[in-house]
């Protein structure tokens, strides 16, 4: 794992989506995801509508289909297991070629796949246009308790410390002739996890001490978090509300 992967999520840009305040985007994301999840699985057309909404948002953010596709692939292994459902599902069965598949299971697999993929795509649009610290500030504005955002802030910083420590250890091992066949090699992971924890902890502690030494009081000097205007809200929520309307119609109708 390369150091600083937490930042690789963000794609630098100056689109309108980038410019929106983070908390507005988070609310928009939540609306889209709830709409997707609430849509009955048989309403294939409504899922297409959701997809259009998400693609439109991605286009506004100048994110290439290739980028979104790549990020979706990362999530794919987990969704891929939906493939098992048609085999283990109950109820009526259909015969496809040599296979006898459960109809309910097929619907279940479709549902998990389409909802999971759409939700994933929606969150990719938000994380690719919002730097991590801004997301945390956004959470704070949405009244997420300070303890949580503070711990999250340290977590993001320490991710790099840990990735750095892991990387150092890996290079040091390689330089002295260690060539593991499995990166995680059961015992190697188990024995080095403890050492990694202590090392990272103590490095983190020393960094924290250095921060205290320079007058840190529990809050990083803030570089002006933007407040949301009414126009921001309108712009951010236009698309998600379409998705919500589609879902609502689908549920009622």
């Amino acid at each position: 794992m390369s150091a600083g992967h937490a930042h690789a999520l963000y794609v630098h840009g100056d689109s309108r989506v980038h410019a929106l305040p983070a908390h507005v985007k988070l609310v928009a994301l939540l609306i889209v995801i709830v709409a997707v999840v609430a849509t009955p699985r048989e309403r294939v057309g409504v899922f297409a509508a959701h997809a259009v909404v998400i693609i439109a948002a991605a286009a506004c953010a100048h994110l290439s289909p290739r980028f979104i596709g790549g990020r979706l692939l990362i999530g794919a292994p987990f969704l891929a297991f939906a493939v098992l459902l048609p085999f283990v599902g109950g109820g009526d069965r259909v015969v496809v070629g040599a296979l006898s598949l459960s109809v309910g299971g097929l619907w279940g697999a479709w549902s998990v796949l389409v909802k999971g993929t759409l939700a994933l795509a929606a969150s990719v649009v938000v994380t690719a246009t919002t730097p991590v610290p801004a997301l945390l500030t956004g959470l704070g504005r949405l009244r997420v308790p300070v303890v949580i955002t503070e711990i999250a802030g340290f977590m993001v910083r320490y991710l790099e410390v840990i990735a750095g420590e892991m990387h150092r250890a890996k290079v040091a091992m390689a330089a002295r002739g260690y060539q593991p066949r499995w990166a995680w090699q059961g015992t190697a992971l188990a024995t080095s996890a403890g050492a990694l924890f202590i090392r990272s902890h103590e490095r983190g502690e020393r960094v924290y001490d250095a921060m205290l030494s320079r007058g840190y009081q529990g809050r990083l000097p803030q570089l002006g978090a933007t407040a949301a205007t009414r126009a921001d809200w309108a712009r951010a929520l236009a698309l998600p509300l379409c998705a919500a309307a589609a879902a609502a119609l689908a549920v009622i109708g």
């Binding site: 150091a3 910083r157 750095g164 490095r203 020393r206 960094v207 001490d209 250095a210 921060m211 205290l212 030494s213 320079r214 007058g215 840190y216 009081q217 000097p221």
Partner: protein
């Protein structure tokens, strides 16, 4: 006599794993003094320094900075006055760009806008690193990181500057430039170093630490001239170094 800028009395400390490091360290430094802290690896120098602004809490004894005892209540004020450059620059640098890192300290004490910019660029220029202001600090070479680490503390304009081996990993020209910068500051200085000629050049007074105690304190030249004391504390002048050739002429008389 003025009140000591820094006073340490009977300091004792053991790390959480039980290693006893400080065993009653005692000294004081007056305002404006420049003092070198010498001693072998593992003597406890770094541990001592971490007590000077309340990062470590002593098991016994106490530390007073400009008349203020180091306590949870006074710690913020003390950290404004005492600037520490850590021995490992990786501990010191943690922001995403060099600029943010150098701005961190002054910003915490309310410096903003142009004054902040001025401080940042001033400090970086002093260590010859103005050119890397927008790079991430962990992408610098070790010597460059060390120079930036010094700048992060210079930018805070501390009254008392504590440097833990500031010149290691620096190239010879940077080392001299740093000496020039330090010599030009009106400041109380405590500098740990294993580079004895450097100590002689910058600090009229020196202390030797060993086994968690201050075992000698006096004019640097005198200590460096005492063969027995030196070898008892794993100190020796480099081959080919002649103290009489090194003229600490820029220093006020001790």
């Amino acid at each position: 006599m003025s009140a000591p800028a820094l006073e340490v009395r009977g300091l004792e400390y053991a790390y959480p794993d039980g290693t006893q490091v400080l065993r009653g360290a005692d000294f004081h430094i007056h305002p404006g003094e420049r003092v070198a802290l010498l001693g072998p690896n593992g003597a406890g120098k770094t541990t001592l320094v971490l007590h000077l602004n309340g990062i470590l809490t002593p098991d016994g004894g106490d530390v007073t900075v400009a008349g203020l005892a180091v306590q949870p209540r006074t710690v913020k004020e003390i950290r404004r006055r005492v600037g520490i450059v850590f021995q490992d620059p990786d501990d010191q640098l943690f922001m995403t760009t060099v600029r943010q890192d150098v701005a961190f300290g002054p910003a915490n004490y309310g410096v903003t806008g142009e004054e902040l910019d001025r401080r940042v660029m001033g400090a970086l220029t002093a260590v010859g690193m103005a050119g890397v202001v927008d790079r991430p600090p962990h992408h610098l070479s070790l010597g460059e990181r060390r120079r930036v680490a010094v700048a992060t503390v210079l930018a805070m304009n501390p009254e008392i500057l504590v440097l833990d081996e500031p010149s290691s990993n620096m190239d010879p020209a940077s080392r001299r430039e740093l000496a020039d910068v330090l010599a030009g500051l009106e400041i109380t200085l405590l500098m740990i170093t294993h580079d004895l000629p450097y100590a002689l050049e910058l600090c009229p007074r020196a202390m030797i630490m060993n086994h968690g105690r201050i075992v000698a304190d006096g004019p640097t030249a005198a200590l460096l001239g005492d063969r027995e004391l030196m070898s008892a504390n794993r100190l020796e002048l480099p081959l080919g170094f002649d103290p009489s050739l090194a003229r600490p002429e820029r220093l006020p008389a001790p």
